[in-house]
Each structure stands twice: as C-alpha cells, then as structure tokens.
Symmetry: C2
Subunit: 780 residues, 2 copies
C-alpha cells in the first residue's frame, strides 16, 4: 500500500523531550505545600505486629502524619488492576497497611513530613513490636505446608488450599488416551526464577493532591490510568468519581506499573494531611514491588514417530509471593501459552499458585510466556534430538496455523508469518552451515547455535474484555488533537497511534497532536498498556474515532464542493474528488468552514470499543553462543529475531521493541535472579548485585520484521511489545546445549550452574579432557 | 417542572476552592526554570521610536532576553479574539512591539530575567530615543483631524478616514419620512465615559512554556481559550497546532479577557529564551489594557401624540483608543442595541469609531448596551415627561414583543416577561406611591425614583457564528466527566452547565465532574464567555452532548432489561421503565456493564453546535435615590431589578449576576471614570483614585427573577450575565431627575456635575431657595 505515514520512520513524538531531559517524570514534580511520604518496612519475612507506637514519630517537628494498619480503610483490595472479568481471579487480600508482615519489605507504616530527612527520621522513631513467625520461602514447601499459613484467605474455595491461592485446571481431549497413542513420552522439569523489571524510572512515584471538594488527584507513573483509578478508589474507600489519575511520562513499565504501586499510600497520606504528598520508592524499595513469578514446570509430552504430538501435559507451580495480586490469573495465562503453543488433541494443565514469604510477584513482559517458552522449547529440542527429528520440522508440524482457531484465545488466527520468519532467520544466522557442524572438542571456547519459537497475543481478548477509546478533534487549522489514555511506556505506541490517526483521517503525521499526559478526567476509558495490546486494540479505537471524524470532514466538504460525501476521499491534508483529485480542498479549509461558517461546529470523532479479534503473533529467535568451558561464561555472539508482527506501523519502534526485549530476555536467560537469604532478606536488591545486561553486553542483533497482515487490526497491525523476550532464554539454552552438550533446565544459566553441569557431564561420560580437568582443579 | 437539580441552589462547583484560597490563578503559578517577564511602556502618548539600545539591559546578569519591535514577528494582528465573521470588522493594526507609541503605557520592549528585580532593573537600562508627536485625546478632535494620524491603516477603505477606523451606517425604513410623520421630535446628546473592568485578578497573567517540539503552552487567565489560541498563534507567527492554551481559575473577566492581554509577549519571550516565562501585569498596568469605549450619542426621536415612535436616529461617536481592537464591531453592536430596543418603522444609525492616544478600549460587560441604554432611557423619560405620558406606558407601547423578530438579531423573540417584570418591580419599589409624590422643596436631601428598561442577547448569533462543544463520558461508577472549554469567570456557568448535564442525563448533580482547567488540547472548541452566551449557547451544547450520552445509556440498559430504548427513561441516577418505574437499573450498573461486559465500551456523548436561536432577555430596574443638594452626593437607597432571564438554572448565580452587575453599573453611573492629563498620562490608574464601589456602598438590592422560558434554550434558559449593568445608570439618572429636577447627560454623575447642574437650574429658574443658596455659597 502507498501510505503517507504508516510504515514510515517518523520521529517519535516523545523522542526529543526524552533525549533532552525535558520530559518530566513524577519524581521531578513538586506541588505547592508538598510533603514527602516514606514507608516503614518489615524487617521480618513473616511476623505478627503486636503493637505499633507512633507517638515519638508524631512528636517530631515537621511530621504531618504517621499512619499504620490502625488508620487504613478496612477494605481489602488487590494491587492488580484487572478489568472485572470472569477470567481475572481477583482475590482481595491486601490493605494499605496490615497488622501482619508477610515479606521483608512489607509496608508497615507511612509517614508524611516536610522533607525527606524528617520523614526518614520519623520512620526510625516508630516502635513496632513484632512476633516473628516461621517463614516459607520455597514454592515446593508452600505447596505442601498446610499448617503454617501466610494468609487466612477469604477467596473462592475452589482456589484456596493452605498456601495455595490458585488451582487452575485445564483439560482438552483425554490426556491418558493421548499418552496411550504416543510412540514416545518425554518428561522433564524446568524452573524459572524471580526476575525484576528494572525500568529506568524507579518503581514508583506517586504525587497525591487532595482538594477541598474531597477529590484526590494522583499523578503517577502507571501503565493503566483508568484501572488504577478504580482500585485506588477502592483502596481508599472513596468513590471512583473522586479520584483523578494523571499519567505523565513513564520511564519504562514492563508490567511493573500494571496495577497499584504506591498510589494508595500517597493517597491516604494526602487525605489525612490535606496536603499534597509525593511518595517515591528508591531503587532498593522497587525490589519490594511486584516482579516475575518463579515457576516450576513439569512437562510430559506424547509424540508419534512422525513427530506429531498426541498428548501434552504441564504441571506448573507458580510462586506469587506474599500476596495474590496477579498470581492465579497469571497461572491461568501461563497455562494458556502452554495450551496454545503447539497443537495436540489432548492437552492438560494443572496449575497451582502458592504464597511464599517473598515480595509479591506480578506482571512482567510476557506474563507467563517466558517461563513456558523456556520449558517447552527446551523440551521440544530434547525430543527432536532424541528422535533424530529436525528441530524446525517438529515445530512446523505442530504449530497452530492461519485459519485455525487458536486454542489459547479461542480467536481466529488471522495470519501466520512463521514460515517466512524461519526462512529469513535461518538464512541470516547461517543455520544450515552451523547446525550440523561437528563440534571441536578442543580448546576452551565452544560455539553452538539454537533457537526458540513462540506465539503471543495482540490483546487480552477474550480473557479480559477489551476496551479502548479515543477522542479526535479537528482544529480550525486542520491540525488534530488525539486524546487517548495511552501509557506509552517507551514502546512508541503514542507515535504509532498518531500515525494510525493521521493515515485514517488523511492528515499529515506532524499535524496530529497526541495528549501525552493521560488524565482520567478528560481521556476516555482504556484498560491500559499490557498484553501487547496498544497497537491492535488501542489502534483499532483510534482508527474508528478517526473514521468518525473523517465522516464529518467528508460531509462538510461535500457541502462546500457540492457533491456527495461518497464521491470524496481524504489524503495528505486534503479532501479531494475521487474521480478528479485535482478538485480538492485542504482539510484546513474544510475545518475552518465548519468552525466559522453556518452551523458552526468542530468536527470530532469518538470511539470506545473492543476490537473484533486478537490475532496471535509468531516469532523465531536464533542465536549463536560461545561457552567458555573453563569459566562457564556464555557469550552471546549473534542474535537473529524474526517476528511476524503484522504490518509495522512505526518500524523503528517495532525493531526497538524486539531488541530491547531480547536484551531483557538475555538477562533472564543468563544473569538475573532475585535471591533471598534463609530468613527472607533480599540478597541483591540493587544494580551492583542484581545483574541487568546493558548495551555493552549486547551481541549483534538483527530484528527481522515479517508483516503478515492481520485482517482486523488497523492497517493490518498485530503486536510486538512483549514477544521478543519470550523465546530468548530457550534459544540461548538450546545453543548452549549445541555448544557443550549440557542442558540447563533452571534459569538463569549462570557460570556456576553451567560449569557444574559440564563437569558432571564429563564425569558421567568418563571423558575428562585436559581442558575441563583444568577447570575442575581451579574449582577446588 | 419537577426537576432534580435545575432551579436548585446547588453549591457552586468552585465555591469551596475559591473561598479557601485553594483555587490557583496564573499569578500563583511557577514552572521549573521559570523567568519573569516585564514590559517597558511608553512615557509618551504619541511618539515615534527612533532607536532602542538594549545592550546595557542585555549585559545585566540574570537577563535572558530583551525584545523590541526589531524582534517582533512582522505579522499584524488584533487583540480582539473574534471568530472570523462578516460582522466582526477585524482590522489588524497591532504588533507585539511596534516602532511607534500610541498611548502612555504602550508596550515598547519586553524583558525576561531570572527574577522580578532583575527584570525591573533591565527595563531601566533600556535606552529609547523617542520623537514625541502631538496627541489627540478627544474623540471629537479625532473625528475632525485628518492631518495628525495615529495610524496609517491598511484596513477596509469603507471604514477608514483619517482617525476614523469604523463607519457603521444602518438604515431601516425612511427616517425623513418618519420625522415628517411625527407630532413631536426630540433631540439630545448623551455622553458616557471610559470605564475599567476592575476584575479582582489583575488583568492579566500568562505563563508561557515552550517545549522541545516547538509548541508553546500558555496558561492564561482568559475568557476564550480557543480564540486566544488562534490569535496568539497569529501574533507569534506559529501554526495554531503549536499553541496550547490552558485556562485555570479566572478571577473575574467582565470582557477584559476577551482576546489577548499579554499572551503574545509571554509567548515571544518564552520562544526566544526557550524557558518558561510568566508575565503578570500589576494593577496599574491593567489600566493600560482594554476598557469600556467612551461614546457620544446624539439621539433624535420622532413620536406621535399617542406615544408611538415614528423615527429614531442615533449618531454615535465611539472612542476605541490607540488601537482598533473591538472598536468598529462594538460600534456596530452599540447600533444594534439602539435599533433593537424600541420598535419604529424608521430607524437610522450613523456610527463612527475613532482613534485617540489613550489605551485601547475593548469588551466590557454589556458591550455597548450600557452606553445606549443611558442615552435612550434618559431621552425616553424626557419625552414622557414633556408629553405627559406615563413613562411605563411609553415603553410598553414601543418595546419588541414575543413572537416578533427582534430587529437587533433578526432572531425570533421566544418569550417576553417584561410585563411581569414591571408588575413585580413597581410593586416592590412602591412606584405608584412614590412616582407622583410631590417633591418637598425643603431640606438638603431630596428623594426620587426612576427606572430604566433594557433588552439584551443570549448569545452572539447571528453577528458571530456560535459554536460550543462538549464531551461527556460516563464512568464505570455512574459518575460523569464533562469536558467543556468553559471560562467560568465567576458567573457560575460551570455549576449551571453541570446541572444541565446532570438533569439531561438523569444523574445526580454531585456525580458530574466538570473540568475546570479548560485545555485547548483536550477541550473541544468554544467561542468563549461573552455575549452572555454560556448558559444559552454553551448550555445547548452540553444538553445535546448529554442527550447523546443518554441515548447510549438507554441502549445499553435496553439490552440488560430486554426492552426497547424507547420504553426507558433516566432520572436521579437510574434508568427505569416508563411504564413501571420500579423496574430500574442504576446508571452505575448500566455503565459498569458497558465498560466490562461484552463489547466493552465507555458510554460517551459529544456535541459541537450552534444553538437554534438567540432569545433576547428583558429587564426593568427601579431605584430610589437621595440627593444631597448641598454636596451633590447621590445615595442609592433601594434598587429593584426585575429580569426576565428565562428559566434560572442556578438561581443563586442568576441573582448574584444581577447584583454584581448593578454594583458595577452604579460605579458606572456615579463614580468610575478613567481620566487622562492633557499629555495623555493616566490620572487615576489605581483603586484609590479610580473609585470602584464596594459592598459597603451598596443599597438594598432586590433581584426579581422572572422566568419566561425560551423555546430553544436548555430547560428554557436565556441569559443574565450582562443585563444587570445595562439599565442601572439610566435608572439612577432618571431617579436623580425625579429628586432634584436636573438631568445629567454625561456619565458619571459626580457630585461636581450634579451640584453645578442644580446651581444652574436654580439660577435659570431664578428661584434660589435658602438651601441651595447655602450650597452656592459653600462652593465659592
């Protein structure tokens, strides 16, 4: 198609502001009379609070409020901001402050004071009498232990059992029958770790400003202004009407801002003091907010000789930490990824979500898919090797195809670019040359290639009810304001949505002004930036609103040009006669006449809607690694990611999303791991000890964008926000196996684990080469 | 009608914020890195600028920019923010800074510096070489003097002649014939002064914040965000797209914020420095901004014995000061009031607008009507007395009536409550008892009663194309956000529009949240707060948007209740079956289901439209005064104002508008007068010397609200914002005549003028009573 802006490398609407530092984040903001709020946190992983004495803190000059469980609205809520839905298992087990601490770092009290120093001093003056309780740190123990309960849950009975807060069964076909039909059965257990989103802007800051009418305006770094409004109101026991959420620039989200962070604490402190209060969590405190769920996945796969799956089973044990938050819902979605990835007549899932005395887990780019992809794609490679099947063929044989209904979402698969992805990626990485290369068993550096495949969604439908809205107004100069409660968390969605608006309406890209600061008072409802949904779902709403505005333009122009609206079309800032494009009016002329001519009116367009589908996206990611068998260190040399994203609205953003996600996925694969001492203290809640990969750690990266257009997305768009992370860890694990013949089934693949495994393999095989011998001796 | 909120005394939406000081005005605002802008003003009323040397000022530490005519975009503009229209005579004769000064106080240069002291010091370091020119201060001289030109106008030739910048003829019928048919002809000349709006918030403050994308956000105290966006963009030679206007609370307008004040200066300084700049005019500087046009009106009226007018003629000389601004348009509208006030088959107007070397005049509550009402209502009383006619009867005989087309607007007169107004007001003031009371010619205090009649508009149609817009969204809790670019300048319009929204939609008043800070990026187009148009025109748009949203609610509810939308109605937060009101759903339930049920969407309503009509309003205002014949001091003892406002949406605001306008009208009648020395320096540019009446000066006031419903306004509303000022001065002048038998034809009626007139009358009549003798002797 010959588009004006779709597919073009427009300068991102927020690029200059972010690059120059002009962009303001909540932590940069001040309000008149603003207080600083700080949070006292539990030093125990599990303890009853017998008493809190705040009197000394309250007497400190400059302290305006000290709040504890005694001051907390007695309304339970859940930090996860789901739209109400049957699929969202919303157990409410949180209070702003509670009389029980369930993890080291659990908020116990909040202080508002005139400055940070005073607030800090006040925290130190709060005297808390704790009764420490035994702790549960492992999911396995939590699953078994029915005596020591972290919660006495009120939740739905079918989900609650001891420390289990989510039981998610799923059955398709008859698994036993499926295994009976299998020629081979493979079984294995894979484990993934607790990982941290590590957005650039610490998670999180909220500035709450109460007003004399009883409303509270909270400026907060969030991925979902409207849903955060809803649960903030609940947490504060206020009507939704009285809460206004404003989202300024957001310094990265990755799921960490998918729900509440400290809006309720800031709000409560503001409500009690009657003054604005800003609460900013520092980097260490951010490690106490929601992270990625650790999962233990036991897979059992039945397969015929020809490579067809007959039965697929997963038991998943998902650790949601101290509070339910997303736990059961994530477990269900994690099951969905498993179910949807490969076809089989018989599939079964037993998912369990358990509590441990660790910080709560929540949403993180991929939302269960990275865990599942690591497990499944590791096992499929094992199967292929064991049966002597081509690892690409086995995937092509079993993946869901265009025209089918995808088992995950029960939505039509509108297009599938997987084969093109594979073709391009294998060519680029040199798969044919490298895959069967005989391994030199000499030297200390061994190279290998591997890949992973994945599917992902373009929205949350039908698990959650989609709902995006947009308001477009055409100004008297032909420029356009687009009001959309978009949380562009760095993905480029504000730019792409502006392109969709411009192209649909026929105006120039630079004539679209999108409102960056989504304000729930003026921006219409939107369920937020998650499920990779902004371009498909949000884009659909923007497209519909733009069509609505376009109808208004054509109608106005038809009066001016004395023809019917049907004879007209728009493009590049003009309305023209289809039959004679030379006969045209500028959109400025049309809009000016609408504003100031007879029957003065501004041409507007609105839409609030869910999109018709939820087309899945596909990706294959290939990598070449080099393993140092003396140190266990893995160097990722090359990374080729081929993604079927649908039509790329803003190609640089699409490539940027893929590259950034790979970087995050590599950390997940190799270095990132939130660790806790035996008594539940975080061991690495900082960026020195928690190793996030940076640009210098990056290999050559080659995002290949395959544009298998969706039928229903705006201009054929699907999604890309999360998919790059998903198949990164299995690609690396498979490449490591290719390099050194050992398979690590537990993320991250640290040098320690890899070295131990190499050693064990060599010992087992009794073939101790000189090089590894040397390694072993260094180890002692 | 049995309304839920219409006609109820709701707490004004801004009352608490304003009463507690929580409401922020532009002068209260700070932005990061904000500079203070100040303006150098001409000390000459008329001078060429030969050179400006800014080098010393620029070298001063802390000074970021010094701008003069050399830095000004070479785009002429007009401070008056009219929507483009044939009726708006938009001569563009202003630049941000010019090389000619045309009044004392004319901005010559602008400075932006790190603080106010530095900016002030920099102003003093600017060296300007002036060539002083002779000045013209009186309109009469300006009319005649074709040699000394204040402007070399580029404007339309039919309007420009020497210092005349507007020639406004109007002819209905044949005036000569009309005078031939008359039994009597009356002629007289009436003069009104230059008066100051004196809003509480000094006029004006603008905070301009440039961004890295080339846009400028200007937070400004304005009555018309969108039109100010338009001309600010023009003045800065920028696209409208790149200007964003945000209107916070406004501390009174009265017309003074009907167009540009200092937005261009703040914008230009911000653009040049790349930093936020706030320019705040102090009280003295506010006296250099637009005020009320002085007018000299010569009336000639032909009348039959029975009191019917046969011909009406006015020659008006209107002084617009140094720049055109509203001048010719105001003169045209002033003519309109004259034409519309009383019927006559033959009416003629010769209106002239002239320049003088005084600060420009602009819009001020009434917009020409107070001038005309003073002239006409004085003369009609003279006629009635001379012919022995009842002053009420002569008005009732000649006023335009319901069902007729009003000559002013050519719009239907939808309703007329004048007779009811007269009936109630005469009863309350005791007209019958007081009017024919024989005057005691003893003592020094003489009482008299008088009244004035007037008509006013409910909008600007068809002179200007009306255009108001509203966006309504219904939240998941059934509350409603109303986005409307409303400048509630203290009139209560935000409250009344919220009531219209609530009543139309069927929600509770407190569940409507109206956006106070109109932002042109998110709020749809609106031509602003003027022409008393907010409730009629703005209310119509809000009503239409609410109907649109209501349609969405009924449709959603009909699905839930399994019926047709036509069977349903809304009220008091519910949707119910008309036939069986017990069967109902709360609007919260309906909206919740819309948001989160199948086909998730937020119910919204939009409208952008002009209203069908422009129904005039009527008022009669009666007063009783006491004149001290020794001092000439006038005490207003009682003021009874009966206004046909249409249905009063928010009665306390309606009464408040009437009372406030009377207070302003009393100042106009008695004390307020902007005076200049012979060389054009203001003599009383402060509140010590320019006497604004305050609450302690007020008499008993009794607003009587007559609700002759309009056919087209929301719930029958018409208007009230300006009308209370209009007939105040003639009522007082007529009452003074009744008290002491002298007629002052020049406002304000100061003790000096009145005393001189009393003396002259006594001398002329040769009847020097003891009391007045004493007065005369005191005078010597």
């Amino acid at each position: 198609m010959n588009y004006t802006t779709i597919g073009k490398n427009e300068v991102k609407v927020d690029a200059k502001a972010k690059a120059t530092g002009e962009a303001r984040y909540v932590g940069d903001m001040y309000a008149r009379g603003m207080l600083i709020g700080k949070v006292l946190r539990s030093p125990y992983a599990h303890a009853k609070i017998l008493n809190i004495d705040t009197s000394k803190a309250e007497r400190l000059s400059g302290v305006k409020a000290v709040l504890t469980y005694k001051d907390t609205p007695k309304v339970p809520f859940n930090f996860a901001a789901f739209p109400p839905s049957e699929a969202a298992i919303l157990i409410e087990d949180q209070y702003i402050f509670s009389d029980k601490a369930r993890f080291v770092g659990d908020p116990i009290a909040g202080v508002a004071a005139v400055d940070e120093e005073t607030a800090q001093e006040a925290l130190e003056l709060i005297e808390v009498e704790y009764e420490p309780l035994p702790t549960i740190l492992s999911a396995e123990e939590a699953f078994k232990n029915k005596e020591l309960l972290i919660h006495e849950h009120d939740g739905p009975k079918e989900h609650i059992d001891g420390n289990i807060c989510g039981k998610i069964p799923a059955v398709i076909g008859d698994m036993e029958e499926g295994f009976d039909e299998a020629d081979y059965i493979f079984e294995g257990t894979y484990k993934t770790q607790k990982a941290f989103q590590a957005s650039m802007e610490p998670c999180s800051a909220a500035l709450a400003e109460p007003d004399i009418n009883g409303r509270i305006k909270i400026t907060t770094s969030t991925q979902m202004p409207h849903l955060v409004r809803k649960i903030t109101a609940r947490s504060l026991d206020m009507p939704i009407r009285d809460v206004q959420i404003v989202k300024p620039y957001v310094g990265g989200g990755f799921g960490s801002r998918l729900g509440l962070v400290n809006e309720p604490i800031a709000g409560l402190l503001a409500k009690k003091t009657g003054q604005p209060v800003r609460v900013t969590y520092d980097r260490e405190e951010s490690f106490y907010t929601e992270s990625r769920h650790p999962a233990t996945m036991t897979l059992k796969t039945g397969i015929k000789k020809d490579g067809t799956f007959t039965a697929r089973y997963m038991k998943a044990l998902v650790d949601t930490g101290a509070y339910v938050t997303h736990g059961p819902s994530l477990t269900a979605v994690l099951g969905g990824w498993f179910v949807g990835m490969y076809k089989s007549p018989n599939i079964q899932l037993d998912g369990y979500t358990v509590h441990t005395n660790t910080p709560p887990a929540g949403a993180f780019r991929g939302y269960g898919n990275p865990q599942v992809a690591f497990a499944v794609e590791s096992q499929v490679d094992e199967i292929a090797e064991e049966l002597g099947l081509d690892p690409i063929e086995i995937r092509l044989k079993n993946h869901p195809c265009e025209g089918e209904t995808w088992l995950w979402s029960k939505m039509p698969i509108e297009s599938c670019g997987l084969e093109e992805c594979i073709e391009k990626a294998t060519k680029r990485i040199g798969w044919e040359e490298k895959k069967n290369k005989e391994k030199k068993e000499e030297g200390t550096k061994r190279r290998g290639v591997g890949f992973g495949y994945m599917m992902h969604v373009s929205g949350a439908k039908p698990e959650l009810h989609e709902n995006s809205s947009a308001i477009i107004k055409v100004n008297e100069d032909g420029s356009v304001n687009l009001t959309y409660a978009c949380s562009d968390i760095g993905t480029g969605s504000a730019t792409a949505l502006s392109q969709i608006c411009a192209e649909t309406l026929g105006v120039k890209f630079e004539d679209v002004v999108i409102t960056q600061d989504a304000d729930t008072d003026t921006a219409p409802f939107e369920i937020g930036s998650h499920a990779s949904r902004q371009i498909y779902s949000g884009g659909y709403a923007v497209e519909q609103a733009a069509k609505d505005a376009k109808d208004g333009l054509l109608e106005m122009a038809s009066k001016m040009m004395d023809c019917s609206p049907e004879e007209l079309e728009t493009g590049d800032g003009h309305v023209y006669l289809k039959e004679d494009p030379e006969r045209s009016l500028s959109i400025e002329e049309v809009s000016f006449e609408a504003h100031f001519g007879e029957h003065g009116h501004q041409i507007m367009g609105i839409a609030s809607t869910e999109p018709p589908g939820n087309p899945p996206v596909y990706a294959v990611q290939f990598t070449e690694v080099e393993v140092d068998v003396e140190t266990g260190k893995v160097d990722v040399l090359d990374f080729v990611a081929a993604h079927d994203t649908g039509v790329a609205i803003h190609p640089p953003s699409v490539e940027g999303q893929i590259e950034g996600a790979i970087q995050q996925g590599m950390g997940y694969a190799l270095t990132e791991d939130m660790q806790y001492s035996d008594d539940g203290h975080p061991m690495n809640a900082n960026f020195s000890d928690y190793k996030v990969l940076t640009s210098v750690d990056m290999p050559d990266m080659d995002p290949i964008v395959v544009e298998a257009a969706s039928e229903t997305g705006a201009f054929g768009a699907k999604s890309v926000g999360e998919s790059g992370l998903v198949a990164t860890a299995p690609a690396i694990a498979n490449a490591i196996y290719d390099a050194v013949g050992v398979r690590i089934k537990e993320l991250p693949i640290t040098p320690e684990k890899l070295l131990a495994a190499i050693k064990e393999k060599n010992n087992t095989e009794g073939e101790v080469a000189a090089a590894t011998e040397q390694v072993a001796s260094t180890e002692e």
